[in-house]
Symmetry: C2
Subunit: 482 residues, 2 copies
């Protein structure tokens, strides 16, 4: 392995996933890596080829300047008059937005006065829970003390859906559009930005009829790979996040994972370890555990990327095979007090991927007090970032001591660039994993049945027979209810 330093600011560290630390049953040996070396190199060649031939939509995003340009223009036009940005979207049309906002703005963003925020308050409504929607409707009904006007007057709605027919987003859109029309009359359309297919679909048609500003979801970019498209960029830009740096970070990582050969390629090494852990070492659970609240929502984004891309019921030549590591989100140090008992003493069936921030964005020191309290003196003068990272190292040690493997992804800092790098690293690693597991990483066939069943249960036309067959299988039977 060389240690040649690239231009990127995140790094992969994997010694604690090797046999040297956690033993041969649970750790990856040199021989293990050699055994998959050919498959990895093949996967790498295939995916790099697909990227370069334009076959993987997401690979075009980091260097696609026009999207960022269009988003920035729209931001410049709209940000001034906007106090509240409400994103209507779900799954890939929400998780990236939440991850960027959580990583790159204060946790108190929505609580700050306008002068101290980097943009409007942000609400990403990724569910149809009536209580939650009602909470937000009431919030918008109220007068904003800073402007003296009802928030409807200065709220902006970004509706995100490739087709417009996603039930959750469609129903939310119908509700909020009607309210906006009520409150704003003819000018309601100025307060809606639609992010949808560039050419066709229900939402595109409505956008044209109503006269909304629109942003395009590029062809060939699935929802879970869309965060670096206008899907994720618009809310980020509105909230003051430097989307050019975000894309630059992604582009730097792209360059690195396309150029570097095995075994010096971080995506290839990460995929090799995850694949070996899954296939050879009985580690079906792939935990992501950031030691940083700001990075915590990246773990939710990863959950979708990993589960929908790799959880598949057949190989690419259509042979049945139930496959896919289960992604799990955890948060350090918090989950040391919740999950680590299980991680150390439960079955040895998981790989933990720590995210560590080497230089935290703020310095907070523990004051030099309680000099006479023996249980507390070691904390005097400590920096919280140092404490948090010591806890991470302690957990890494405690897991290793019990032969539980882990890897660490180091973030030099939390910035648009490092977040962009991380996103691209994981997208590319997911593509490699699809090759190694021999599954189609870009479809999601199993989601369709539930959507159809929802249509049937909501009484959509022509679904009557299907509704009956659903009821036959799962209708409630009081004999099984206590």
């Amino acid at each position: 392995m060389t240690t040649e330093k690239e231009q990127t600011l995140i790094e992969l560290y994997w010694r604690n996933a090797t046999d040297r630390v956690v033993g041969p049953d649970h750790g990856v040996s040199e021989e293990d890596l050699t055994s998959v070396s050919e498959a990895i190199q093949q996967a790498l060649a295939t995916v790099v080829g697909q990227c370069r031939r334009g076959e993987l939509g997401y690979a075009a995003l980091p260097t696609h300047g026009e999207y960022a340009e269009r988003v920035s223009q729209l931001r410049a036009k709209l940000v001034g008059g906007t106090t509240d940005l409400v994103v209507l979207g779900i799954g890939g049309s929400a998780l990236g937005n939440i991850a960027l906002q959580t990583a790159l703005n204060p946790a108190t963003h929505n609580l700050l006065p306008a002068a101290q925020r980097n943009g409007p308050r942000l609400f990403v409504l990724d569910n149809v829970d009536p209580a939650w929607i009602d909470d937000v409707l009431c919030f918008l009904d109220a007068t904003d003390p800073e402007t003296g006007r009802a928030r409807w007057q200065t709220a902006l709605f970004n509706v995100i859906s490739k087709s417009g027919e996603t039930a959750e987003t469609a129903s939310q859109f119908m509700i909020f559009r009607e309210k906006l029309r009520e409150k704003l009359g003819a000018r309601f359309a100025e307060r809606v930005v639609v992010t949808t297919d560039a050419e066709e679909g229900t939402l595109r048609d409505i956008a044209e009829a109503d006269g909304y500003e629109t942003l395009a979801i590029p062809d060939g970019v699935g929802g879970r790979f869309s965060v670096l498209s206008p899907v994720g960029l618009f809310s980020a830009a509105m909230c003051g996040i430097d989307i050019r740096d975000l894309l630059k970070g992604a582009a730097a990582m792209q360059q690195r994972v396309e150029a570097q050969r095995w075994p010096d390629n971080p995506a290839a090494m990460l995929a090799a370890i995850k694949y070996l852990m899954y296939s050879e070492k009985g580690k079906g659970l792939h935990v992501m555990m950031p030691y940083s609240n700001r990075l915590s929502a990246l773990a939710d984004w990863y959950r979708q990327l990993w589960a929908e891309s790799l959880g598949k019921g057949m190989t690419r030549d259509k042979k049945q095979k139930f496959v896919g590591p289960t992604p799990i989100k955890a948060l350090g140090a918090t989950d040391q007090h919740s999950q680590v008992q299980l991680y150390r003493e439960g079955e040895n069936d998981r790989l933990v991927v720590f995210l560590q921030v080497d230089r935290h964005p703020c310095a907070v020191s523990v004051p030099d007090v309680f000099g006479d309290v023996s249980g507390m003196t070691y904390l005097r003068g400590a920096d919280l970032g140092q404490l948090l990272n010591a806890e991470k190292k302690a957990t890494e040690y405690a897991l290793a001591f019990s032969e539980r493997p882990s890897v660490t992804i180091h973030f030099d800092e939390i910035s648009p660039a490092t977040v962009g790098e991380f996103i691209y690293l994981y997208e590319f690693t997911t593509s490699l994993m699809g090759e190694l597991l021999d599954v189609d990483a870009y479809d999601q066939p199993a989601v369709e049945l539930g959507k159809q069943a929802t249509f049937a249960l909501m009484g959509r036309e022509h679904y009557e027979e299907f509704a009956r067959s659903i009821r036959r299988l799962v209708e409630e039977d009081g004999a099984f209810r206590i």
Copy 2:
């Protein structure tokens, strides 16, 4: 099975976990239930006996009126002058507080003006992330536009730790106490409420020296079983949650699970299904998937309860055995667009426990618009609660169709009473599972090593040799970093 209706408002429904729906390989049959019937009855008798003899601390909480009394008195004294309540605690000293607040107050609670909130804003700081702590420090430094005073003047701090030596809580306490002293001078102690051991420990000593109001953490109540003690009750009461109804709900469930015999006892049936799924059907992953944002944080609370209680490395007679189902949090309908692909087509290794709200707290209707848009007409006039529950039923069906088992816990409504019922149901079910898995459900031996390692890495006295041994095992080696 009888269907006799009890006084409680939550019910267990399990037909979709039976062989009738998901087949004999993945579903529980009558024979399976018969095979564990004796073990369940034994477990039930044991746990009920422990509860009645006062051996399980948590069992005394629902009917222990004095704690609620003391909490209510303290609330009456403090709520008037308090705009912001900051809880310093982690693990069991935070998860219950967050779960109660999320379930029983609006998602926008902290954004509302004082007149519309049911109590102070609430911040539960369950991590030592410097960025997050700094965000909250800055928020408190600012002037509250409603009072015209810096928020430090009207903030209240509830420090929760049994001993006071939990590193995260201790360091936070040192930071916030010093700030308070700076800002408030001699009267700083009036703005701290300590929840700790009734008699002894570092935090108790400091509370007495500084002169804080205190609340007691009862003996024999571990952190993860403490939500119905002053640990969870104080922040709930401050935020306007009816803690008497909460306790009444818990007491009703307690009466029910202690009185009802197998197989009419919901805790016993839930434990039997979970145990059979884990031990006989290869379902090591126990997902909790509320179809309700308000109930979502109960799934975080459950994660700790389940992982720390059941993830154990030895049986009660000290034989080594790595055991414990892995709890996983999901959220409906959101995670249909993230996890359901994997749940249907990945390995058949999980049981999904849905939480369903039969009557949602708010009614929001989709307006009758877009009559000419074919993909949307079925949504016109729909109630969001009806849509959300149809999505749940659709997912239940899609899982069942792929032979993936599920059970549903029905909440008649979301109220302090049903939340109290649910909490007690799960605590008691956890005790039964401990019996069935033959593990001690009340200790957490594997957490200790990480705590010790943190002491060592932070340079605590007398840990020097241990620090060296940690570095020998897991110190970073640049050859494994790219």
